[in-house]
Amino acid sequence: MPSIKVLAQREEAQVRFTAGHSLCAGCAEPMIVRTVLNAIEEPVVVANATGCLEVATSRYPTSAWNVPWIHSAFENAAATIAGVEAAYKALKRIGKIKKRIRFVAFGGDGGTYDIGLQALSGALERGHDFLYVVLNNEAYMNTGVQRSSATPRCASATTSPAGKAIPGKPQERKDLTEIVVAHHVPYVAQASVSHLIDLANKVERAMRYEGPKVINVLSTCPLGWRVKRDSTIATAKLAVDTCYWPLYEVVEGKYKVNYKPKEKLPIEEWLKPQGRFRHLFKSEEGKKLIAELQAAVDRHWEELLRKERCTQEA
């Protein structure tokens, strides 16, 4: 398991993702990217879907990447890395490459849950050997906080603004992690920026398996969630402690919940600090909606614990 000392040692030897990028102050994405890249020992090639991370780290002629990095379009990070991996295998077969290289794709929720879902599904089904990391900040933050299918119900976004007509986004968010599980790939996990050592462990475990691996990481966006920029970690931690965003992994079909809070906090604790949910605390209807959100979290959490019990026994 890579401890914080090991991660630091690796970064002292090679800074794979540098400063000098234009992501917002307090953004969670660089913390996740550094941790993922430091958790992998071998050389890495990265593909990046369009999104905050891509635009802010590759403004021509600047770059924050000291690893080979490729961006082609919004929807095809998974297809791009699949092509790179296939080319690597072909070159390895004829002896032109000897060393072991690992392949990682980064995509946001827009580039994964919505626009890149088909490319991801295809790459998973074809069984390419790569790790896909979702930087899930729950909306299209790069273009100005438009709702995505990862945006939680009742969150106010610029295309689902809370007001007289609707109390924020009317629909439930999509469960991408479970969609990936349904592809029967060797390793799927959910992680959070508030638990970076857990994330590093997950990357290391994932890389032991040949084939597609996916880790869906909750990535605080101070701008879009409307929290203070120093609250990145504290906010994401509340998502985990309320069981809104459970930390779990599915290894060869077996569920394991990595963290069970001793005291499951009420959903208000997660909603209240965030400006995008502020409207829920101002009306009677809001109270009713919070109760519905709590019921949904409870239902999903119980379901997850049941899946863990069933698959661990089997």
């Binding site: 914080i4 000098g20 102050a25 403004r59 990447w65 970690i233």
Partner: protein, 96 residues
Amino acid sequence: MPELKTWKELPIGGVIPGGATPELNKTGSWRSQRPIWNAEKCIHCLQCWLHCPDDSILIKEGKVTGIDYEYCKGCGVCARVCPVNAIEMVPERGEG
């Protein structure tokens, strides 16, 4: 920013061949709050280093040695995650 090149001078595909170029984008100028690191209080747990979005906690052989004000954007995450309050945020006055 360096002088812009014409399209004829750009490499095909907009490739940036030399790797990272942090020196072209010194983001320290974004800062309105400045983190001050207290070497005496620091227990070198590296939580600040792990959580820094801008790789601005300087470390050597696993120990914190200071803060890189050339790139630090002053978000204050380091001060919040520090378990012993060894980092204090003060208003930026623009020196250094």
